[in-house]
């Protein structure tokens, strides 16, 4: 008897080892389910095995992998039938004769023509006491019933199955997350490719210099900038910031950018352009997403800038005596109220003066103690760097913000656009 016991133990151990190896090599959930039922039946000397997984939101068990071409999904509420009871009580059940047990539901037999005799059913309990599912083996071979040794064997096997299932689920979630991130990165690249990125953009123009940059946050955001000539003498430029984050913000940004190009190209004052753009964006905007946008039009012959501020941070005017904010003229953020008025303001850039547009990613950049970069810091920086050309001022500003933030996570896109006016004399000099 002692010999038999140790022989059985050795056999069981080697069976467990085989199963454990098989389980370890399967990471795809569907394949894994198949391996589990095959191995469980084999090791337990059972005619078949069924694995039920716990569907937490429905509080039900479900199974797809019954052997012999059974592909229909079975669903069992917790507490119903034998597997339901095992799941609910989290205790194994060993039944020598199914038809003598009141909990047994013979309907499955009726449907499939199968004849269930003995049942051994075990709960699968995962990390943190979470119910993962139930495994059931049916009809011990040679008309036998499942004994205590089978119970401990299936219990051992269940531990391996549980680990394998949890791991497969983790891997699936991880792969899914990777896929999402990949898609987001792609969306972001497409988004960035819509912005003018070649500098200097108009090498043949000597009346002004323009530079712009976005430092994207890790999460896809909704900042945008743009500039283009409406006609030979008028340069239209803008910086905007879409509400919210993630995919919705980036899609909304892409739409805004496209609409801005088309409405801007049709000309008019900045106020007229934003009024048209606003009406377009408002159409079918049930989610109340909005975009704050500053739009200016520079007359490159005179330095005159007409502008309209749609709820955005006011740009800074960098002149010889210091820096100041533009006068607040415009209207509300775009996308909120269809019939909104947008007024246009006017200022004149003298030779050597710069307009600096930005988004709140600059002023709201935080260091590790959650202190904001703030308007004051920006203003101080601009005051001492107001003589620098656009590319340098933006490069230095971004460095300054980064240095301020230290290692703190960048939570919002940082966007800056600088427009330096030379006047027509510079062109005269070149000629």
């Amino acid at each position: 008897m002692a010999f038999n016991d140790s022989e059985r133990q050795a056999r069981n151990l080697s069976a467990l080892l085989r199963v454990s190896k098989a389980l370890a090599s399967e990471i795809r959930l569907d394949d894994l389910l198949q391996v589990i039922v095959e191995k469980a039946a084999e090791v337990l000397d059972a005619d078949r095995a069924t694995l039920f997984l716990y569907d937490e939101p429905c509080n039900e068990l479900w199974s797809k992998t019954t052997q012999r071409l059974e592909i229909k999904e079975i669903r069992v509420p917790l507490g119903v039938g034998i597997v339901g009871t095992v799941a609910k009580t989290r205790t194994p059940i060993n039944i020598p004769d199914a038809y003598a047990d009141a909990r047994f539901n013979p309907n499955f037999d009726k449907d499939t023509g199968y004849r269930t005799r003995s049942i051994l059913c075990m709960p699968l309990i995962g990390n943190g006491d979470r119910l993962i599912g139930v495994i059931q083996v049916l009809n011990k071979k040679d008309q036998e019933v499942f004994n205590e040794a089978d119970e401990s064997l299936l219990a051992g096997l269940s531990a391996h199955i549980t680990v394998a299932l949890e791991r497969a689920r983790l891997i699936e979630a991880y792969v899914e997350k990777e896929r999402m991130e990949e898609a987001l990165k792609l969306a972001h690249d497409i988004q960035m490719s819509m912005l003018p990125k070649i500098f200097p953009p108009f090498p043949e123009r000597h009346e002004f210099d323009i530079f712009a940059a976005i430092v994207p946050a890790k999460e896809v955001g909704g900042d945008l900038y743009d500039f283009f000539f409406i006609d030979d003498d008028h340069l239209c430029f803008a910086v905007g910031d879409v509400s919210g984050k993630g995919v919705p913000a980036s899609l909304f940004m892409a739409v805004t950018k496209t609409l801005f190009r088309s409405t801007g190209s049709n000309g008019g004052t900045p106020g007229e352009i934003l009024a048209r753009l606003n009406a377009e964006i408002c159409r079918d905007n049930d989610s109340c997403m909005f975009v704050t946008l500053f739009c200016g039009i520079l007359n490159i012959r005179t330095g005159q800038v007409d502008y309209c501020n749609g709820g955005h941070n006011l740009p800074y005017y960098l002149h010889h005596d210091g820096v100041s904010l533009l006068q607040s003229i415009g209207g509300r953020a775009l996308g909120l109220v269809e019939q909104s008025p947008y007024a246009s303001g006017r200022m004149v850039l003298g030779p050597g003066e710069t307009l600096l547009l930005y988004t709140d990613g600059v002023t709201e950049a935080m260091d590790s103690s959650e202190t904001l970069y703030s308007d004051q810091r920006l203003e101080r920086f601009l005051t001492s760097n107001r003589g620098s050309p656009p590319r340098q001022i933006i490069g230095d500003l971004v460095s300054d913000v980064r240095q301020f933030a230290g290692g703190a996570r960048q939570s919002d896109d940082i966007t800056v656009l600088a427009l330096l006016y030379f006047g027509t004399t510079k062109r005269g000099e070149k000629n």
Partner: protein, 110 residues
């Protein structure tokens, strides 16, 4: 963020504290819409304890105002904290939402 709910007659006063940003906006949206769904038509939002509001937060108020307009309700703001006031000034929220210094004023003007 935290949302405290108070009632004065049929007026519901929501006091916000903490940060109303992309991560908390969804919770706040569900909460305030459920207040409206349960029949409230006159809302006051008290911002005195709110440390930060982002565009995602502003968006919720515009959604709420659309919903209230359909139902003939109203929403007004009061007691803006400094950071909230700064953002409201930039986007000119006062054009679309009446803003008052005290709760009493806000309730009287609903």
């Amino acid at each position: 963020m935290e949302i405290n709910e108070d009632k004065r007659g049929d007026v519901v006063i929501l006091s916000l504290s903490g940060r109303l940003d992309a991560t908390t906006a969804k919770t706040f949206q569900e909460r305030i819409l459920s207040v409206i769904d349960s029949g409230a038509q006159r809302l006051v939002v008290d911002f005195s304890q709110l440390e930060y509001i982002s565009s995602s937060g502003l968006q919720v108020f515009y959604q709420v105002s659309v919903k209230l307009k359909e139902k003939g309700g109203r929403i007004v703001f009061c007691r803006l904290s400094d950071p909230v006031k700064r953002v409201f000034d930039i986007v000119d929220m006062a054009v679309d939402f009446p803003i008052f210094i005290t709760r009493e004023e806000a309730i009287e003007n609903l």
